[in-house]
């Protein structure tokens, strides 16, 4: 499963993308964020307030309780500030 990071989530984690294989009990977007947060200092910093980190599954906005089974690409990023 490919994970992508944007804006300050990317900066804190220190990379744009990576391939991960989370354990089977990581079922939702929120589970995945919590699992990633344990992978190191940068990850912990990025997910220190999980409510402000948004996610997309296969390029579509996803809520924290969205299941990740079958996803090819999951992205984490701050609230959008385009326009």
């Amino acid at each position: 499963m490919k994970i992508r990071y944007f804006a300050w989530v990317r900066e804190r984690i220190g990379q744009e993308a990576e391939e991960v294989e989370p354990p089977l009990d990581v079922a939702t977007v929120a589970d995945l964020a919590a699992w990633l947060a344990q992978r190191g200092e940068g990850y912990a910093h990025a997910f220190e307030n999980p409510r402000v980190v948004r996610a997309a599954i296969d390029r579509t906005h996803a809520r924290p309780d969205a299941p990740i089974a079958g996803a090819r690409e999951i992205a984490f990023f701050p609230p959008m500030t385009g326009g």
Binding site: W8, R10, F77, M80, T81, G82, G83
Partner: protein, 160 residues
Amino acid sequence: MFTVRIQREDFDAGAEAAALARGRTDVGAVVSFAGLCRADPAEEGGRLLALTLEHYPGMAEEEIERHLAQARARWPLAGATIIHRHGRITPGENIVLVVTASAHRAAAFAAAEFLMDWLKTSAPFWKREEREAGPHRWIEAKAADDDAAERWQSTGSDTP
């Protein structure tokens, strides 16, 4: 003609708007919104030198296309053009363009506002400020923008 473009280059707002009505006699109203990079005086960290817009390639186009499809389902549009720039943008430069064309003005205005409100809150773009003094800083999302987007959720009326 319905077009979504994500690009680094500047755009010509007037030419894009003119193109939507050219050679047609069914367009009575063209509404164009151009969003520009401002530099307000005397902010914290000194004068703004530039914004850098990061985006999620692929998703940015798809997300805007989804909102454009919603706008077309909601209002009778003859055409629309949405352009969002990314990369480094200095004060006075264009950032975003939304143009809508319709037979009547109410539809063109409502669709343009709808598209801009959703662009602000759901298109995957992030702005980082570069100022004379102090570190680069990511702009925080505004609650007012979420409110502006949410006013379109009520299904009772076509105008907020």
